[in-house]
C-alpha cells in the first residue's frame, strides 16, 4: 500500500483545530513495544506520526531523545529495523514520517532507503542535519520515490534562505520554535506569530511547530498560529517511564481545540 502524495499536506492543514503530530523513537524501549506504542498513538487522534531512527551522535537532540536512541541502539535497532517498525505502524492509516540523521541513511544507501520507505507506505522524511544546501542528490531520490521531503526553518534562518527552504519542502514546513535542541520547555519563546507569519509569506504548505512543545497551554498558544504542533520529548519520556502516551495525547488535544 502506498500513501498518495499530498496526504501529509492534507493531514496537517489546520481546520480550525491545531493538528497534533507525535514523535517516537523506533526500537525504544525495544522493537516490539515501539510498534505497540506507535499503533496506540496512531489511533489516539494525532494527525501524523514521526518515527525517529536512532543515531549514535544526534546533534539536534536533548537528553530525553538521546537516551531513547541509545536504548534503541543497544537493542540492535537500525535503518532496516526502523523501516519495519514504521511499516507496521503505517498500516493503521496514519501518515508516518521518518526522522533520521543523514549518516545511517548514507550507510544504508539513500536510493534503497527511499524505495523501501515508499514501499512501506510511509509519507515523508525529515533529516535534521541535511540543510537545503546539502540536500541533493538525496532529496531527489526521495522525491522520485514520491516521498515528501520536509525541511526545517529556525528562528535564526535569514529571509533569503527561508525562500529556498520553503521552496524545497513538500508535505509541510517544519518550523523549529526554539533556538536550541529538542527537549521539553516550560514556556515557548515570544514572537511565534511573527515567526510563522514570515514563514507563511514563502509557502502555501502547512507549517508545523516543533521542539520544546509539551503542554496543553503550548497548544492553545499555537492554535491559529501554526497548522500543527509536534510533540517529541514529552511522549518519549512517557514511553521511557512505562506510562501511557495516549493519555498525554488526550490531554494535549484538549489544548488543540
Amino acid at each position: 500500500m502506498k500513501t498518495a502524495t499530498g496526504s501529509l499536506e492534507q493531514a496537517l492543514r489546520a481546520t480550525g483545530d491545531l493538528k497534533l503530530v507525535a514523535y517516537m523513537m523506533a526500537g525504544h524501549p525495544n522493537k516490539r513495544r515501539s510498534i505497540e506504542a506507535g499503533k496506540r498513538l496512531a489511533g489516539s487522534g494525532i494527525a501524523a506520526l514521526e518515527i525517529g531512527i536512532p543515531f549514535s551522535d544526534p546533534l539536534a537532540d536533548g537528553p530525553v531523545i538521546q537516551r531513547a536512541g541509545q536504548i534503541a541502539l543497544e537493542h540492535g535497532m537500525n535503518v532496516a529495523g526502523a523501516l519495519e517498525v514504521a511499516a507496521a505502524i503505517a498500516t493503521e492509516g496514519v501518515p508516518v514520517v521518518l526522522m533520521t540523521y543523514i549518516n545511517p541513511v548514507l550507510a544504508y544507501d539513500p536510493r534503497r532507503f527511499a524505495a523501501e520507505a515508499a514501499q512501506a507506505g510511509l509519507a515523508g522524511v525529515i533529516v535534521p542535519d541535511l540543510p537545503v544546501e546539502e540536500s541533493e542528490p538525496v532529496a531527489g531520490w526521495l522525491r522520485a520515490a514520491s516521498l515528501d521531503t520536509v525541511f526545517m526553518v529556525a528562528p535564526t534562518t535569514a529571509e533569503d534562505r527561508l525562500a529556498s527552504i520553503c521552496d524545497r519542502s513538500s508535505g509541510f514546513v517544519y518550523c523549529v520554535t526554539v533556538t536550541g535542541i529538542t527537549g521539553v520547555r516550560k514556556d515557548l519563546p515570544p514572537g511565534m506569530k511573527e515567526l510563522f507569519g514570515e514563514v507563511r509569506r514563502h509557502t502555501q504548505l502547512p507549517v508545523a511547530a516543533g521542539f520544546g512543545i509539551s503542554r496543553p497551554e503550548h497548544m492553545k498558544s499555537l492554535r491559529g498560529v501554526a497548522d500543527a504542533a509536534v510533540v517529541g520529548s514529552a511522549i518519549v519520556d512517557e514511553i521511557d517511564r512505562g506510562g501511557d502516551p495516549v493519555a498525554l495525547i488526550k490531554e494535549l488535544l484538549k489544548g488543540c481545540r
Partner: protein, 402 residues
C-alpha cells in the same frame, strides 16, 4: 521561486569531502563566520594584529631543531623537529585559538565554547579568553578529565568553566557533540572555537589557514639551514590540524612526501584504535563528510588511543581528500610504539613530547631506518608531554605488573 532554483553553492569541499551537515539553526552562524573570516583574512589590520599576538603571546616563530641523537639512533638520517611544544601553553593549538578569539571579538560575541580531548585545545581556548576578556566554557569527557587532570586544573585557573560530558564514550567525540548542542542553543551570543580542521565549513578551511604558519615557518627555516627541502614531512593526525598546518606549505613541492600518523591504539586489527583514514570509510560526523570509524549501520564506533588528542573517530575532510588523491600517505602507530618513542625522545634529546606527536616520532624512526644516512625527515612536534605524565607512568606500571 522556481522549483529547480539552484541552492547556494557551498565552498569548503575537498573533492567529495567537507560540507555543512548541521541543524538549520546553525546555518546562519556558519555563513556569518565564513563571511567574517574572509573579510578578516583580507584585512591588513587584522593580519598585523594576528602577527603581533603570534610573536609576543604565542612565541612565534618556533624553532626548527636538529634532533641529531635521535637521527644517529635510527641509523644516521637527518631528523628535524618543528618545535610547536615551545608555543605558549605547550602545543600548536594556540595558533588557532588566538585567531578565532580575534574573530569572536570582530563578531561582537562575548562568549566562547570549545571542546577538548587532551585538554590542550581547552587550555588554549581558556588562555585566549583570559587574554581577551571573553567568557569561556569547555566541554570535556569524563574519561579525558581523568587522564588529563592537570589541564583541567589549568583551565579552571584561567577562569573557564569545564563541563563534564558523561554521554557516549566520554571522550572527544561526545565533548564535540555537546559543544555543538550548546552552540545550537546559544548561537546568537556564542562563538564556537573548534580545535581542529574538522566540523562544518568554514572550520576546516579557517583552522588550516590559522595553522599553516607551522609549515610556512618550517619550510623557510629548513631551506635556510639546509638549502633544500626535506624528503618527507611527518605529523600526527587526530582531527588533523597540526598535520594540515605543516603539510600546507609543502603541498606544491611534489618531491616532498607527506605522511600523517594516526593512532593504532592496541592495533588496527583489534578494533581498539582511532585510525579513521587507515581503518574507516566515509561518512558524516560533526557537520562534515570525511573518513569515519563507523559500523555497517552508520553508527559511529567507540575509539581507543592512549593519547587523548588522537582518540577521535573522525578526521578533517582535507585529509580524506589528500589520501584519495594520494598526495599524502596515512599510517597508524600503536600505543606501545608511541610510548617507546616518547621515552626515546625524552632520553636522547631532553625533549619530552606529548603522546600525540610521539606517534609521529615513532614513524619518523621507521622511515629513518628505511632511508638510511641520507634521509631528511621533518617532524611536527605538536606539543610537550607534561600533560601525559600520568598516562606514561600508568602504562609503565601496567607493563611491570604483567
Amino acid at each position: 521561486m522556481a522549483r529547480n532554483a539552484p541552492t547556494h553553492p557551498v565552498d569548503g569541499r575537498y573533492g567529495a569531502y567537507g560540507g555543512q551537515y548541521v541543524p538549520e539553526t546553525l546555518m546562519g552562524a556558519l555563513q556569518e563566520l565564513e563571511k567574517v573570516w574572509h573579510e578578516a583574512k583580507a584585512d591588513p589590520q587584522f593580519q598585523l594584529e594576528l602577527a603581533g599576538h603570534r610573536h609576543a603571546f604565542v612565541g612565534r616563530p618556533t624553532p626548527l631543531y636538529a634532533a641529531t641523537r635521535l637521527g644517529e639512533h635510527f641509523g644516521g638520517a637527518h631528523i628535524h623537529l618543528k618545535r610547536e611544544d615551545l608555543c605558549h601553553t605547550g602545543a600548536h593549538k594556540l595558533n588557532n585559538a588566538v585567531g578565532q578569539a580575534l574573530l569572536a571579538l570582530r563578531m561582537g560575541k562575548k562568549r566562547v565554547i570549545a571542546e577538548t580531548g587532551a585538554g590542550q585545545h581547552g587550555v588554549a581556548a581558556a588562555t585566549v579568553c583570559a587574554r581577551f576578556g571573553l567568557e569561556c566554557t569547555v566541554y570535556m569527557g569524563t574519561e579525558d578529565m581523568r587522564r588529563q587532570s592537570m589541564n583541567v586544573r589549568r583551565m579552571k585557573l584561567l577562569g573557564a568553566e569545564v563541563v563534564e560530558v558523561t554521554s557516549g564514550t566520554k571522550t572527544l567525540k561526545d565533548a564535540t557533540s555537546e559543544a555543538i548542542r550548546d552552540w545550537v542553543t546559544n548561537v546568537r551570543s556564542t562563538h564556537y572555537i573548534i580545535g581542529s580542521v574538522v566540523g562544518p565549513h568554514p572550520y576546516p578551511e579557517m583552522v588550516r589557514d590559522l595553522q599553516r604558519v607551522i609549515g610556512d615557518e618550517a619550510r623557510d627555516q629548513y631551506l635556510s639551514v639546509d638549502g633544500r627541502l626535506p624528503d618527507v614531512v611527518v605529523a600526527c593526525v587526530g582531527g588533523g590540524s597540526n598535520a594540515i598546518g605543516i603539510f600546507t606549505a609543502f603541498l606544491d613541492d611534489k618531491d616532498v612526501m607527506l605522511v600523517g600518523v594516526e593512532a593504532a591504539g592496541k592495533g588496527v586489527k583489534t578494533g581498539q584504535h582511532a585510525a579513521s583514514l587507515v581503518g574507516g570509510r566515509p561518512g558524516v560526523l560533526h557537520g562534515s563528510y570525511s573518513y569515519l570509524l563507523q559500523d555497517g549501520d552508520g553508527q559511529v564506533l567507540p575509539t581507543h588511543s592512549i593519547s587523548a588528542g588522537l582518540d577521535y573517530p573522525g578526521v578533517g575532510p582535507e585529509h580524506s581528500f589528500l589520501r584519495d588523491i594520494e598526495r599524502a600517505e596515512y599510517v597508524a602507530v600503536t600505543d606501545a610504539e608511541a610510548l617507546a618513542a616518547f621515552r626515546l625522545c625524552t632520553r636522547l634529546e631532553g625533549i619530552m613530547p606529548a603522546l600525540e606527536p610521539a606517534h609521529a616520532l615513532h614513524h619518523a624512526g621507521v622511515l629513518a631506518r628505511e632511508m638510511g644516512s641520507g634521509g631528511r625527515i621533518l617532524v611536527c612536534l605538536s606539543g610537550r608531554g607534561d600533560k601525559d605524565m600520568d598516562s606514561v607512568e600508568d602504562a609503565a606500571r601496567a607493563e611491570r605488573d604483567q
